[in-house]
Each structure stands twice: as C-alpha cells, then as structure tokens.
C-alpha cells in the first residue's frame, strides 16, 4: 500500500492530526493541526498517527497559547532544572510516547517521563529555568494542554489510604492462598493422622493470625470510627465476623478439633479488600479528572512592583496592598479595588448577570469576575486565603461535612441486619452449650459458622461493586463522580434547579445574526484574530477560516486598527449613541452604510457595521429539560440575571417556573425550602454564586467549564457534552441503585437458606467457602450490569 493510499481514508474520516470532522477533501480542521502535523513529521515521530487508539478532536492545538508563566514552578537541583506538569486529555500510550520523544529531541532535556494514569509529566533539563515556557509551548503546538502540577492534583493522586488498602490486599491474598493450601489438605486428607492434622492447623494459625491482624487494619479502623461516631456500620459487622472466626479457629486448634476456619477468615478479608481497592480506584480516577480541570484554571497573576515592573506570581503569594495588572480576558482572582480609570467586568460567574458592568476608580471589584475591557490596575484588599472566595470555600466545606452524614443503602441494611444475625449466632451458641449440653468450645463452632455464612460479604461487596462499575461507566461518558454517595443521591433526585448563565447557556458571547454580509464578517474576523478580548475571540470563532490580517495594532480597551480598517467600541469607531452591551463595531472605507445609522463618522467616508453578541442557549438544553421531565424531574430556572433574559431562556428551554435576580443567598434559601418540603433537589450550576446552593442541594452537578468553586461544591462534574449527559447519568444512577437493592435482597435470601444449616451444625468450612464464593460471584456478576450502555439510549 502506498503512502497516499494509506493517508486517503484518514483524510476523509477526519483531521489528520486531531481526528475532528473536516469538510470533504480537507486534510486538517485548522491551521494549528496542520502545524502540529508538520512538527510531528519533522521530528520523525509520525508513527504516532498509526499507533494511537482513536482520535476525538481533543488534540487540536488551542488558538491562543497559555498566558501562564511556568518559571515560578521550576525546581532547581544542582545543575538541573525540573518541573512537574499536569497534562490534560492524555488518553493513550501513543500520546505518552509522542510527548516523551518530542521533548527528548530537545538537546537540553535530560529526562522526560509521563505517567499515563496520573497524567503527570516530569521534565528535567540543563540550562535556564525560562526554557520551561518553551517546552510548554512545544507541547501546546502538538495539541497538549498543560498546567502546573498543583497541590490539588497531588492530593487527588497521592493516595496514601489507597496504597494502604493495596498492601493489605496483598498480605490478605498471600495469607488466604497459603492457608487454603493447608485447609484443602485437611479437607481431602481423610486418612490423615490426628498429629498431622494438628500440625496443619498450627501452621495455618501461625500464618493466619498475623495476616488477619495486619491486613484487617483498614477495616477495623473504619469500624472503630463508626463506633466513635455512634453508628453501626458495615465494617463493624465484618470485623466482628472475622475476629470471632479467628477466635473460634484458635480454640479449635487448641483442642484439636476436626476443622479450623482460618481459610474463611483470610479469604473473606482478601475479598472485601479487593472490592474496596476497585471501588477506590474508580473514584480516584474521577477525583483526579476533577483536579485536572481545576489545575487548568489555576494560573499566575501579574503583580506590579513599586518600581513599575510586572512579575508573574502565583495568586497564593499575593498579599493585601499589592498591585495587580489584570489583562483583557483575564479572571480577577482576588478581592481588589480599582486604582485608576474604568473597568468593564463580566461578573456572570459571581452574580449571574449576563451583561458586563463597568466600575469606576475606587470601587470594589468582585473576585471571580472576568475583565472584558482594557487592562487595569487594581489594589488587592485581601490575600487569597482571607478573601471572599476562600470564605466561600470554607462555607462549602462545612456544607460538605453535613452531607457526609448521609447513610448509604448498605449501611441502612446493616442497621437491621447485623442485630438479627448476631442474635441468631448468640442463640445458637447458648442453645448448643446449655440446651444440647456440649462443651463451650464445641458450641462455638455452629455459632461462628452461622456468623460466617451470613457474613455481610454479599452486602459489603454488593454495593461497592455496583458503585465501581457505574462510576467507571459514567467516567467513560464524561461524568465525573467524585463523591461516594453521589450516585445514590442522584437516583433519588425528583426536582431539578438549573442556573442560567453558563449552565443552560454557553456562558460566553456568540455572534448573533445581524445585517452584515459574509465579506464584512470575514474582514472583521481577520482583524479580531489578533486580539485576546472575549468579544474579538467570539468574532474570530464565528468565522474560523478568515485569514489573519497583517499589521493589526491593538489599542487596549478600545479596539483594533489595521490600515484604515477599525474594529472596536462605538466610541472608538466614532459612532454616537448608547454603547449597547455586547457589540463590536467595524468600520472600513468605502462600505455602504448597513444597519444602524452611522452617525457622526470621524474618518471621512467610512461606514460602520455592528456585530452584536449574546450568551446563547446550549444546543442540547431543551432536550435535557425534556429528558429530565421524562425521568420524573420537574425543572425550574434560578438565575441572578435580569428578568427578560431569564424569561427568554426559560421559554426556549421549555421551563415553566423561573426566578430572576436571585442572589446567592436566595438560591441557597430556595434549595433549603425545597428540602424542607421533602423534595430531593438536583442543583445544576457553574458560578461562584451557585456554589452555596450546590453544596446544600440533595445532589448537585456542574459543567466541566464551570468555576473552580462550583466544581468543588458539586457532586458530579459533567465534562464531555455538557448537560447532555445528565439524563443518562440519572438513568445509570437509578439502574445502579436497583442492582444494589437486588444484590442485597439476593444476599438475604441466600442467608435464609444457609443459616438453618449452620445452626444445626451441618456446615463444614468447605461448604461455607463454597457458599461464600458462589454468592459473591453472583453478586459481582449482577453488578457488572450497571456498566451496560442501555441507560444511555432512552
């Protein structure tokens, strides 16, 4: 096959670099991808395209390079510099290979290593610290988005508890297998002498005792925590079962009884720990992805020193009284007052208003707002740790803790199950000891056998297995479940409260149809391409094929000039009249007057065209609202924006109940009122103003491009297709809940059959092992159905 023939199907299927759909005949979806493809080929790494598994368009290089200075994050060791980076959207081994090889091709680089599961890149080189930015730019040209490795990433990946669980699992598995080897010898060795049998039991005891003591620690600890909190939890039941079995086996060993049950105790531990490790791994993946999203939002701020020089510094290092330079399009991360001039801020994330508001010198600026106008200088009034955002974060933490008291279905089942089982075991013991009149050691055997066959094994695995499978399935669909009980709460949701700006709408300006021509749009977009201003970016995005005009000059906060063409605010173009919200004016010489009357033109015969923008409804919003209604969730719109805008969005999305101009407190109060009324509200929001409501709601979700506070407060983060995944996620959660209930019922039925056998003393360790293993296998098999895709096709 020739090269051309091999490339041909690739070219028709999608962009040759990122795989996104392209117009027929084109090889690339954008200039960035073409550049990336050339770069890869130039490095001799084009094997990448054959090796990668699937390309979904996520590798498209960003139009505007990251404005973060990575130098402060570089660590110095002797003559080497090292930086740790988080790489977003790393999906397959081929990406790892491409990245490592591309970086290794740089002469200074001594080591480049990417961990695929943690998405962490460790890069070392000899030379200047400033080279870090070049390496990041190289990765950006290839289409990888990177961010400094933040403490939040570290917390999400450095999982000390998880490692303890894995270690305990290894020890328990070792013990179970070796004890089983000895137990099987006893079970089948019917001609075995008594002395040999006793020796076998003693060896088994010597292995099992330390194993049960060490490997069981994570479970005993959680049981103790439960007791301290005054709750009877699953781990309490498990610990009691394991310890009672061990004690009985020891007593049987001492009196040289026919069987010991060490194999059951160790196998039980291994099984439970395996379930827990899997559950944790699924949850950790989701937590990590959330940390990844947050890390991409984190950045440096620009501090102005007294002598007027600007330095990039992490926001955490800024103290009250420092002066900040806030660039156009940048998010203000701290509480500050405006020093001089005027500022136009988009505060939609803090109060839900979709129109930007202007501030005068001396006015306090809301932290979390985005600069829509010219760069300005602001004086910080509170360090990040004492600011309003941090205060909000602390409030959220308290709300989270309150939510931590939610009792999940397994623990609820344990509440009535454990007392019954333990009573049955105690009665068995007393019945045999006092009633039948055997020695207490002999009476212990059927009692503990009853405990073991009824062991909450099916229970303890039933719920975590379903959870792990469902969380994994949701993860593949771009729904991140960071909270252990979120699925269960999601399944119970019966009312949806939606935010407007950024949740139902796209949260960023998009071009509205107007009375301009395609040619004008093309020219204006060519100018706009040069700027990072949000409106200019929206205009450029509306006409992505427009070539960038040469020689564009930006007049900060006012507009762009190229020759005699101008794009910018009404005042800049010289159009009189009110500057109506999100509008860009475009003037070029010799254009016929279009649309709005071009009033007092400043430069000769030039005419102006207006491009108006609005925050548009997400395309899938009406379908999502319909989907929620089909699932029995009534929807309501709760927004901080003005009434007309809210009403328009509500009618477009098909929502009957809406509330406008809701303050963050009003939103939280509405959620509280719903809860007090016995409803289970699902809150969906993305702004800082939604965070309190998100934390208070029965269950909450946040789009992947929401603010970091909202993402921390929400139980679910919808990463992939925005809201569209929500109905599917609810269906999966309900399916998971159904399966968990089935599993618990099944375990109960199994016990009803097995308990009489155990009480009458018929059950031997062999039978118990078979019962336990088969019930666990059936429960796990049933749990796997939670990952079925049926939930996504209504």
């Amino acid at each position: 096959m020739t090269t051309a023939a091999r490339l041909a199907p690739e070219a028709t299927a999608g962009c040759a670099h990122c795989g996104a759909p392209v117009p027929a005949g084109a090889r690339f979806c954008c200039a960035g991808c073409e550049g990336a493809h050339d770069l890869v080929a130039g490095l001799g790494l084009d094997a990448f395209y054959r090796r990668r598994e699937g390309a979904d368009g996520s590798l498209r290089p960003a139009v505007d390079a990251p404005a973060i200075d990575f130098t402060p994050h570089v660590r110095e060791e002797k003559d080497e510099r090292t930086i740790e980076l988080m790489v977003a959207g790393l999906t397959c081994g081929a990406c790892v290979w491409l990245m490592e090889q591309a970086l290794a091709a740089e002469p200074e680089v001594t080591r480049a290593r990417v961990a695929l599961s943690t998405r962490r890149l460790t890069l070392s080189w000899r030379g200047e610290a400033g080279r870090a930015n070049d390496f990041v730019a190289l990765l950006a040209r290839l289409g990888f988005r990177v961010a400094p490795w933040s403490p939040a990433c570290l917390r999400a990946t450095e999982d000390a508890e998880g490692r303890r669980l894995i270690r305990a699992l290894g020890i328990a598995a070792f013990g179970a297998m070796n004890v089983m080897m000895l137990s099987v010898a006893v079970w089948v060795g019917w001609d075995m002498g008594e002395a040999t049998r006793a020796a076998m039991h003693w060896v088994a005891a010597m292995i099992a005792l330390p194993v049960i003591l060490v490997a069981g620690l994570p479970i005993y600890r959680s049981a103790l925590d439960g007791i301290r909190a005054g709750r009877l939890n699953m781990d309490m039941a498990v610990s009691l079962g394991v310890l009672a079995t061990t004690f009985m086996s020891l007593s049987e060993t001492l009196r040289n009884g026919p069987y010991t049950w060490f194999d059951g105790a160790t196998a039980l531990l291994a099984l439970l720990l395996a379930g827990r490790v899997l559950d944790r791994a699924a949850r950790r993946r989701a937590r990590q992805a959330v940390a990844e999203l947050l890390a991409l939002q984190e950045g440096t701020v620009t501090r102005l020193d007294p002598d007027g020089t600007a330095h990039a510094a992490p926001a955490a290092n800024i103290r009250a009284g420092d002066r900040l330079l806030v660039a156009a399009g940048e998010r203000l991360r701290l509480d500050a007052v405006l020093e001089t001039g005027e500022a136009l801020l988009d505060a939609s994330a803090t109060n839900g208003e979709s129109l930007p508001r202007s501030f005068a010198a001396g006015q306090a600026l809301p932290a979390g707002a985005v600069n829509m106008g010219a760069p300005f200088v602001a004086r910080v009034t509170a360090a990040a740790a004492d600011g309003s955002l941090a205060g909000m974060a602390r409030l959220l933490e308290r709300a989270e803790q309150a939510k931590g008291r939610f009792v999940d279905i397994a623990d609820r089942a344990v509440h009535f199950y454990v007392p019954i089982v333990h009573t049955v075991a105690a009665l068995t013991f007393l019945g045999w000891w006092l009633g039948v009149g055997v020695s207490w050691q002999e009476a212990l055997v059927p009692a503990v056998a009853a405990l073991i066959v009824t062991c909450p094994c099916g229970f303890a695995i039933a719920v975590p297995a379903v959870q792990a499978v469902a969380v994994g399935a949701l993860f593949r669909r771009g729904v991140l479940v960071a909270n252990g009980t979120a699925l269960e709460r999601l399944a119970a949701a019966d009312h949806a409260v939606l935010d407007k700006t950024g949740t139902l709408t796209e949260g960023q300006p998009t071009l509205l149809p107007g009375d301009w021509t395609e040619a004008e749009l093309r020219e204006a977009a060519g100018l706009a391409r040069a700027s990072r201003h949000p409106l200019a970016k929206a205009l450029a995005a509306a006409c992505p094929e427009a070539p960038m005009l040469p020689g564009v000059e930006e007049v900060p906060g006012r507009g762009l000039i190229a020759g005699d063409r101008r794009l910018g605010s009404a005042a800049f173009i010289g159009v009189a009249g009110p500057d109506a919200g999100l509008t860009l004016w475009y003037a070029a010489p010799g254009r016929a007057p279009v649309g709005t009357p071009p009033a007092s033109q400043s430069d000769g015969d030039g005419k102006a065209v207006a491009f108006r923008f609005a925050d548009r409804l997400r395309g899938d919003a009406p379908a999502v609202v319909r989907g929620l209604r089909e699932l029995g969730l009534s929807a309501e719109l709760l927004s901080g924006d003005a009434a007309p805008a809210v009403a328009a969005v509500a009618s477009q999305a098909g929502i009957e109940h809406w509330t406008a101009q809701a303050t963050p407190e009003a939103k939280a109060a509405r959620i509280e009122a719903l809860r007090a009324g016995g409803r289970h509200p699902l809150m969906v929001g993305d702004g800082i103003n939604d965070a309190a409501a998100l934390a208070l709601a029965h269950v909450s979700a946040c789009p992947g491009d929401g603010t970091d506070l909202a993402q921390t407060a929400a139980d679910l983060v919808l990463r992939a297709d925005g809201l569209a995944a929500l109905p599917g996620a609810i269906r999966t959660a309900r399916q998971a809940q159904r399966l968990a209930r089935q599993n618990i019922t099944f375990s109960l039925v199994y016990n009803v059959i097995a308990v009489p056998l155990a009480i009458t003393g018929v059950v031997t360790p062999l039978i118990a092992a078979l019962v336990m293993a088969s019930s666990s296998l059936i429960v796990i098999g049933n749990s796997l159905r939670a990952g079925k895709d049926a939930a996504w096709t209504p």
Binding site: G44, V96, W97, P107, S117, F174, T196
Partner: protein
C-alpha cells in the same frame, strides 16, 4: 507424611518471597502508573540524541 516437613516450609517460603517482592514493588511505586507501563512496552524509543559536550 515425612515429605510434608520439607514441602510445607518450602511452599510457605516461596509464598513469602512473593509477598516480599510485592511489598517491595508497591514501595518502589511500580503500581503508580499501570496504564502507562502497559502501553509503553509496545513503542520503541527513537535513537538517543547526541549527548551535549
């Protein structure tokens, strides 16, 4: 039955070696990037660039 006196300790010792190896792997961080290790083995590295003087 005499063979047991030899075979049981041998079996246990071998199992114990496995456990020690597992704990050492865990400590050395070999379980940190299972996905990466699985795919890394499939790809050849480029020839090493010339070391700088």
């Amino acid at each position: 039955m005499d063979t047991l006196i030899l075979l049981v300790p041998v079996a246990l010792f071998m199992g114990f070696l496995g456990l020690v190896a597992f704990l050492w792997n865990l400590r050395a961080g070999q379980y940190e990037d299972l996905d990466g290790a699985a795919s890394r083995i499939l790809f050849d590295d480029l020839p090493r660039k010339e070391p700088r003087p």
